[in-house]
């Protein structure tokens, strides 16, 4: 049982405020991922939860107890660091048991927990090696093992996969997810990689410049992004943003000379009375036009990037760069022309001034 709650948490270094009033409530056994670009304050927030950094203002609660003044060791948390933080002079076994030896736990119990963790993580054959005799992935496992044996209320991960190569990262991602299902503990995971965030999280917290942009399930942040920032950060390749001009009643948006979109009803009210909006179109929202499409755009393909399962095509809408994801069997080449259309149900409209989604005013 462990809930974690942040109430208006602020972090200042001297006069510099780097985390601006973050509110977040994490349920028991929930897997929450903090994601955002470098320097947005992810690590700082995680370290405040761990107790490695002071909290300048606000409160952090673990299991409804304010922990602001609690030493890290009294918070019943375990943390996996980006550089693994393994003790180079200790063996894998000693690395895993070192933290337990200070908790008045019987030797036999320590041995059992370490053995159990080594089985879960497939480390049985490496228990007497030193960290430098292990591969990156194995070190990563040892770091996780050290956290598991603690039996903590909350696991904290600070970019634990960023030192691994792409393939191993995928493997370890799956392992972490399995591990979470197995130990059923609250997890707070920090990453700058949106794919990791989407695949691991029960809920994603998107951060920007020290404040929360959006909190939601992976589906929510993907399908209903709260701002241009979230929309652009989540999803790969990134969402296309094109400036469109709105008709006076708000029922049509013109992107190019003869390319006019008809937004679904629920956007109309929010669009009415605006002259310009930022239109967000995900690459997969484009499709090759057929007879049923009301408005069609003729494009000339600049670049084709085949990925195997999909093909990316790059083109221009007026002067704006755009990318679309199409099926590879079309056999397209650069220089080809094509008629495309978009699925209007899946497009987004943002306020060009502040970047906020206009969906908020839909109600």
């Amino acid at each position: 049982m462990a809930t974690v709650e942040l109430k208006n948490v602020i972090k200042r270094y001297g006069d510099l405020e780097v985390v601006h009033g973050v509110d977040l409530a994490i349920a028991d056994k929930e897997f929450v991922v903090l994601v955002g670009p470098s320097g947005c304050g992810k690590s700082t927030i995680l370290r405040m939860i761990a107790g490695l950094e002071d909290i300048s203002d606000g409160e952090i609660l673990i299991d409804d107890t304010v922990v602001n003044e609690l030493e890290p060791k009294n918070r019943n948390i375990a943390m996996v660091f980006q550089d693994y933080a393994l003790y180079p002079h200790l063996t894998v076994r000693q690395n895993m048991s070192f933290g337990l030896e200070n908790h008045k736990i019987a030797k036999a119990e320590i041995g059992k927990r370490v053995a159990d963790a080594s089985v879960i993580l497939g480390l049985e054959d490496y228990m007497d090696r030193k960290p430098r005799q292990l591969s990156g992935g194995q070190r990563q496992r040892v770091a996780m093992g050290r956290a598991i044996v603690r039996n903590p209320k909350v696991f904290l991960f600070d970019e634990p996969l960023s030192n691994l190569d792409a393939k191993l990262r995928g493997v370890m991602r799956t392992e972490i997810k399995k591990l979470h299902q197995r130990v059923a503990t609250t997890v707070i995971f920090v990453t700058h990689d949106q794919v990791e965030a989407m695949t691991l999280a029960d809920r994603v917290v998107v951060l920007k410049d020290g404040h929360v942009e959006q909190i939601g399930t992976p589906e929510e942040v993907y399908h209903t992004p709260a701002s241009v920032f979230v929309a652009g950060f989540i999803g790969s390749p990134t969402m296309n943003f094109i400036t469109g001009s709105v008709s006076s009643s708000g029922d049509s948006v013109r992107l190019a000379d003869n390319f006019v979109l008809t937004p679904p009803e629920h956007w109309h009210a929010a669009l009415a009375g605006r002259r310009e909006v930022t239109v967000g179109i995900r690459p997969e929202t484009f499709h090759v036009a057929d007879a049923e499409d009301a408005s069609v755009l003729d494009i000339k393909i600049d670049v084709v990037e085949p990925l195997g399962s999909d093909t990316m095509i790059f083109f221009k809408i007026d002067s704006a760069e755009a990318v679309a994801r199409v099926v590879p069997k079309l056999g397209l080449r650069s220089g080809d022309t094509l008629s495309v259309s978009v699925d209007t149900q899946a497009i987004h409209f943002f306020d060009p001034e502040n970047g906020q989604s206009l969906r908020g005013s839909e109600a």
């Binding site: 490695l52 060791k73 948390i77 943390m79 933080a85 002079h89 070192f98 050290r146 603690r150």
Partner: protein, 271 residues
């Protein structure tokens, strides 16, 4: 081939310099076995009729063994406590706290005060504590060296911060972080501490001269100076004494040499 051609002049220069440095040692060794007049001209390169009787003389005519064990005893206390105190102080200096700059400044400026300048207060303190003429008293002013604290600080600074943080989260107490995490990762700083505190304590003359009354409590350098004043024409025995006093120093240095050099240089590149 190319490489060889380029390194031999350096090697030659280094060998020449080491030879020059070794000459005094050789001279001491030579005189200790031959006992000839050191002002003889022209000097003889090889000892004439070498023998070991001067060493025997030193061993039997003065309580050399006693001096030797006094020195060993004091030096052991000094080394052990230097390691403990300096490691703790060095660890504290890796943390951020209010007034850290002042503390650092204080330490650095204290390094510039020569021991001679503090000798009267040091004597008074030792006397007040009733430690005159005792082993602890002998060791007292040597128990921590600022330069060694700074060497530990530099070495600890090089240990990734996340190790300490991981330990803190796991509830490892600070003393255990110092002695079970930091020290095992700072072998060269330890070696440097051992060698420096050994040499300084082993060679200390002024302090024992002031606080030691009994012959029983005399250390080697003190014994050497008395030896000088008692026996007048004993060049050979004197040099034999020097050799016997030098051997442990060389021994300790050889033992810890590699780590020592690493420790000195790594300390030098850190701020």
């Amino acid at each position: 081939m190319m490489r060889k051609n380029r390194t031999w002049p350096i090697h030659l220069a280094l060998i020449t310099i080491s030879m020059v440095m070794l000459i005094p040692f050789y001279w001491v060794l030579k005189t200790s076995v031959a006992g000839e007049n050191i002002f003889a001209y022209p000097p003889s390169i090889l000892p004439k009729d070498p023998h070991v009787f001067f060493f025997v003389d030193v061993w039997y005519f003065i309580p050399f063994v006693r001096y030797f064990f006094n020195s060993i005893f004091v030096v052991t206390i000094v080394i052990a406590l230097n390691l403990v105190f300096n490691a703790m102080a060095g660890y504290a200096l890796t943390k951020n706290f209010r007034g850290k700059k002042v503390v650092m400044l204080l330490l650095l400026s204290c390094m510039m005060i020569p021991f001679q300048a503090t000798i009267i207060p040091a004597y008074l303190v030792t006397a007040k504590m009733g430690l005159l003429n005792s082993y602890i008293g002998l060791a007292l002013p040597e128990l921590s060296h600022i330069i060694c604290i700074l060497i530990f600080k530099a070495s600890f600074d090089a240990v990734p911060k996340s190790l300490v943080e991981a330990a803190r989260i796991d509830g490892v107490p600070e003393w255990k972080i110092i002695f079970k995490v930091m020290l095992p990762l700072s072998k060269s700083a330890i070696a440097t501490n051992v060698i420096l505190s050994f040499i300084w304590s082993w060679n200390q003359l002024l302090w024992p001269l002031i606080i030691i009354r009994d012959t029983e409590m005399q250390t080697i350098p003190l014994g050497l100076s008395y030896f000088l004043s008692y026996f007048e024409d004993t060049t050979g025995a004197l040099y034999a004494f020097c050799v016997m006093a030098l051997v442990p120093t060389i021994f300790v240095f050889l033992l810890a040499q590699r780590q020592f050099i690493e420790g000195l240089t790594s300390g030098a590149t850190k701020e």
